[in-house]
């Protein structure tokens, strides 16, 4: 029958040795005081230190500068569309009208910005230019159906502009600016509606989903544009599919969204 071996470490010894360990730990810790050093992430090599972006306050000026930039992005779209030379005379007339309207909107928004003491931003939205326009223009250059893609792009941008002004109503702090924004938003909505009709005729008047039917899906798998797409103005992402299919059958497929933090034109941007 096994017996319990005699414990090699008695209770008294355990207490004595434990006390010695605590004392030694306190001594070592005291020796290490004042050696905290930098809390920055470790760096390797001679890379320059990262530059912090300035803090961007979101105010009415920033929101209006963003709206103005979207007008100029729309002008960039129509300039590219005209350069392709695929528009009919009637379509070119419509585009010229849109160009005049967007120019006027840009001027109107610019006046609101200067009234608030801000600086205008008379150029396209940088975020849209990099993330959306660059791939769209690349797709247009090699498109298998440039006219289809030009109309799709124009509709998507008019829809984006319309939604952006509607969204501004919920963001601007000055009620009179909300009215100015939505008065332009009304125009952008009518642009989108006119493009839908130009593209789909009477069949594009009303989205059948409004009356319980199903929306028609176009050749690229996207719902065709409707002049009246819903009962209320939506703020959904706008899907844009353009360009020739690659060897796997994929086309350039983008989602355009109303401006958020990344796409705002802060006052430090010039």
């Amino acid at each position: 029958m096994p017996t319990n071996p005699t414990p090699r470490l008695g209770r008294r010894q355990l207490l004595q040795q434990g006390g010695a360990v605590i004392t030694l730990g306190a001594f070592v810790a005291a020796c290490g005081s004042g050696r905290g050093g930098s809390t920055d992430p470790g760096r390797v090599g001679l890379a320059p230190p990262p530059v912090s972006l300035p803090d961007g306050e979101v105010n009415d000026v920033v929101l209006l500068r963003t709206a103005q930039s979207i007008e100029y992005s729309a002008l960039d779209v129509y300039a590219a569309a005209s350069d392709l030379g695929v528009l009919s005379a009637g379509q070119e007339t419509l585009v010229n009208r849109f160009v005049a309207d967007h120019t006027g909107h840009g001027d109107l928004v610019g006046g609101l910005i200067t009234d608030l003491g801000g600086d205008e931003f008379r150029k396209g939205n940088p975020w849209l230019a990099e993330r959306t326009l660059a791939p769209v223009f690349a797709a247009l250059a090699t498109s298998d159906d440039p006219l289809r893609d030009v109309i799709s792009t124009a509709y998507a941008f008019e829809q984006l502009a319309a939604e952006s002004y509607q969204a501004l109503v919920g963001l601007l702090t000055d009620p009179s600016l909300r009215r100015e924004a939505m008065s332009i938003g009304v125009d952008e909505n009518r642009h989108a509606a006119a493009l839908a009709i130009a593209s789909g005729g009477a069949g594009a008047y009303v989205n059948p989903e409004i009356t319980g039917g199903e929306a028609e899906v176009g050749e690229l798998g996207v719902s065709v544009p409707y002049a009246i797409p819903s009962s209320f103005g939506q703020l959904n992402a706008v899907q844009l599919v353009v360009g020739a299919a690659d060897e796997e059958g994929s086309r350039t497929d983008l989602l355009l969204q109303t401006p958020a933090a990344n796409a705002l034109v802060y006052e430090y941007l010039v």
Partner: protein, 198 residues
Amino acid sequence: MTHPAVGDAATTEGSTRRKVLGAGLIGAALALTATRSAVATSGGALSEADLALLGFDQGFELAARDLYDAAIAGGADDPLMETLSEQHEAYAQAIAGLTGIPANQRNDDVFDEFSAGFSSGSLGDVLQTAYDLEATAAATQVELIAELVDLDSAKLLASIAAIEARHMTVLADVKGDGADLDALLLSTALPNLPKDNA
């Protein structure tokens, strides 16, 4: 009278369980009250002025619905008329949901102003008058946005104006003005405002 699903059981159980059930019901009621309170104040209570503006707008939308219905009754039995009637009904109901004002009182002044065109029996007159009505409706929404203090109300009216603007463009094309860019895209209509705000 106690609900039968809990009444019989409650009378046969001991007093302790009854107290627990009672306390639970009171707790649930308090929680529900607190939740409703939070919802009601999340967007801020609507001011009397905002309620008056929204009530006015609701009356406009109900008048628009009735005008399209009058056109249909007068022979303009087009699916578009039916759709536009339902759209304006939806706008009145949305305002009712926001304000609690029942959607049952149209603005007779608006109805009277446009009723001749809608009831004329001539499709051309109906379409032209409908275009004018939609232009006035969109202009009214836009103007009211600047008058409203409540942001949720302004956002709702913006979403209505966005689509009423599109109604205009469709009506312009239907009445044969598709090549007239001003008819498609331009509106100089004045808003229809309450007399105190006009």
